[in-house]
Symmetry: C2
Subunit: 224 residues, 2 copies
């Protein structure tokens, strides 16, 4: 019986230049050596407690990044994915503010707009599409997008993040009502003075207990 190639892949997403971007790395080994692909690697049963640990290891080793939010996306498998044979990849997606990429990065960590990636090996294009759909979908009823913001941020900034993810404008007061209902943010003393020639906005940060936990709404963050 032929063996199964067991790997993990990480879809590391961030928001930059008004759109979702994904981290791609040049593959070191065959197949597709030198080609841009998702960070991934074999599961090391001796080293990894489980697949999520493997994903964390791969992400850390290949990009130097430790993401506060890492969630299993799905497992992609089958005969045709990998020229080496029947393969299985447990995929995880991570969301980070784009500031941490490049700072903490060790090798060449480059970002690519998710709509513009082409020529990816394996089924990585499909995997990215699935991750993007999941993020957009989850953004419509949860606090997920806060993981794309930095340590502190203003409500208008957060609203802009939601709007780019959802692809439509949101009513200001509806948005603030929903975020308030999540009850996951706390104001930081000291407003955002950033060179704006206008009233400074209040800075917020995630309440400590929500650092790794999402908040959901049963009504949805609708457009407006």
């Amino acid at each position: 019986m032929p063996d199964i190639i067991s790997t993990v892949d990480v879809i590391l997403l961030t928001l930059k230049d008004g759109g979702l971007q994904v981290v791609l790395l040049e593959r070191e080994h065959e197949p597709y050596a030198g080609v841009l692909a998702l960070p991934g690697g074999y599961i090391h049963p001796g080293e990894d407690a489980d697949a999520e640990a493997a994903a964390e290891r791969v992400l850390r080793d290949k990009t130097g990044i430790v993401s506060p939010y890492l969630e299993q996306l799905a497992t992609f498998s089958g005969r045709g994915r990998d020229p080496r044979g029947w393969s299985l990849s447990v995929c995880y997606y991570a969301l980070v503010p784009h500031g941490v990429i490049g700072n903490a990065g060790r090798t060449q960590v480059s970002l690519y707009p998710v709509d513009a990636v082409r020529g990816l090996p394996f089924d990585h294009a499909r995997i990215i599409a699935a991750a993007v759909e999941r993020v957009k979908n989850k953004s419509s009823y949860s606090s997920l997008p806060v993981y794309l913001c930095g340590e502190t941020f203003t409500l208008p900034q957060l609203q802009a993040v939601y709007e780019t993810l959802l692809g439509e404008p949101i009513n200001k007061v509806s948005f603030r009502r929903k975020i308030e209902a999540f009850d996951i943010l706390e104001p930081v003393r000291g407003a955002l003075a950033t060179g704006g020639a206008h009233r400074p906005a209040q800075l917020y940060r995630l309440k400590p207990r929500y650092h790794k936990q999402l908040s959901l709404t049963d009504r949805g963050l609708n457009a407006g």
Copy 2:
């Protein structure tokens, strides 16, 4: 490097006696031979196009059931799950009307209330809990529960299904509005005459094009 045990498991759920029940089978082989567990088995790379095909095969071979709705739940993996070593199970959940269990069943196919399962091997209890949570969660904003109903059903019946899944009563007109908005049902000529000493209810069935496709709402099917 030690090898990885790659399997699939199927959480086959149905609604019976006012609650979710799961199909468990006595394991044929070690470890835990003779113990009740989820239907599962090794992935056969030579035979299975992908993990979902493996899940369909396992379900068919072990229970005789082909489920119209089968969705990947998640992959559970790690060192401690299986006494044989580092293992990985891609899990799928299926929803069927409880009528098809036992009819199509070949061997001893038994149902157990999901709240009352105890002493399961591996991490099957956790897997079932995850599946139940997924089903309940998805029921709050989708047409998923129709897969628990038979070929035809009345709106009050469907509402009862939703209410047991969500664990709370739903307002009648709100419910009908939401279902209407899904636009997935069509009336069947001829009302439900079942021995009720009351007005008979209209029978509905899934529109053909929705036989395998969910319909979502962005507002949620709230309680009432």
